[in-house]
Amino acid sequence: MQPIITITNLSKTYASGFQALKHVNLEIRRGEIFALLGPNGAGKTTLISTICGIINPSEGRVLVDGHDIATDYRAARAMIGLVPQELTTDAFETVWATVSFSRGLFGKRKNPAHIEKVLRALSLWDKKDNKLITLSGGMKRRVLIAKALSHEPTVLFLDEPTAGVDVELRRDMWQLVRSLQDSGVTIILTTHYIEEAEEMADRIGVIRRGEIILVEDKAELVRKLGKKQLTLQLDAPLERLPTELAGYQLDLSGDGTELTYTYDTQGERAGIIALLQDLNRSGIRFKDLQTTQSSLEDIFVSLVREKK
């Protein structure tokens, strides 16, 4: 299937001379949730802003469903909803007015039923006549989402949608993002909460200093880099591993008091049971055990650090 967004050799050098994007190539698949991760200042917002037409690219090309964002901007932009990172709203407009305004701006005829649906989905319905200045930060965030959804986009950019949002609202937002995906919307989000990417994303891209350093299926990424380790604190130090246990991927610590078993997260659990039984049979006793799994966070941190 043809990707919904194709980014080719995209670079951005700001007027200050700073190069925020360096020859970015990226394809976003139709209907996926794509999480863009990267440390502060990596270029996430710059990339999104360029695709949405807020920043002029210095080089390169972006196609949205086959429409070039420069030459065929009308068709390209009409498909895109953007929720910016900064909470920028008017002050004296009402929620209803500002969301309806967005729909008009994106060239859609009035549809109060749709606006109502969006506001209800974001629990903003009872605030519809409130002035924006009277809303809390979390509510303003939801208003920005409502504005982006007001014109029924097929691609939705969420730039740190859950920054400064409480736990409950974050859950609601994940729910909303999933239901949007179910209705066929492609979602690109940035976040600093790794667990969010882990929970939501189909694919993950990591950007660092303006370069995309990794794009991978989330499941694949966790499988590839995600190892689980079982560590056993032994009762008595071992000189060396008994030969009966050669079949397992075991490491004995230097002083012989710790035994570490590394296994694939996708592997069947029976491996552990068997190991424990075999240990018992060999007369190896242990006083404590623990397991650790490298999370996406570990993977991310090591990625960003490794390539420095």
């Binding site: 700001y14 807020i54 953007l82 008017d90």
Partner: protein, 253 residues
Amino acid sequence: MNIHAINAIYRFEMARTGRTLMQSIVSPVISTSLYFIVFGAAIGSRIPQSHGISYGAFIVPGLIMLSLLTQSIANASFGIYFPRFTGTIYELLSAPVSYLEIVISYVGAAATKSIILGLIILATAGLFVPLQVVHPLWMMLFLVLTAVTFSLFGFIIGIWADNFEKLQVIPLLIITPLTFLGGSFYSIDILPPFWRTVALFNPVVYLISGFRWSFYGLADVHVGVSLGMTVVFLALFMAIVAWIFKTGYRLKA
């Protein structure tokens, strides 16, 4: 044409006026009334009539022009500066609207406001002095053309300005002096020849002269010249706006 977008922006801008009714409509009406009381009634009664027109009536077109110029610039500059200032401009830049549509809606709304204002001032003036409008169609033509032209100018200022001071400085330091010296309160015919020549470099002279001609049939310069100059300004500002959008000047990083 993204008609829905033009409609949305236009209505948004007009609603903003509604909220700031005091500032947008009432205060210019009050200040214009004060001009009439001071210049028209108090001082004007001592100034002899020329061509059978009282001084109070003579200054009406100039006063309307003064408000039209300053309000067009203020409305349009603020209309586009404010979203830049608050950051809400992101939505405009990411929307499927052309530059032409943006200009039509912002400048259209600003011009509408100042045209309404001009007519209100005209009606207010009617309370103080006997008014006549010899060429009503020309009067409307100048009113609309001037409102549009200087709303465009205001739009340019609103994009150029990167703080609130800059937003004020051009109306205050350039437009108001030029209008006062441009024959709002006198005919440049009464100036000595040298200063008369200097005055002709003041573009506002042509606007006021043409506008006054549409009221009383009296002009400092031929009405065709006035119209021509207005159109030249219109074209100049359009060219600047086109350049701004082509380059993304101060709009896009």
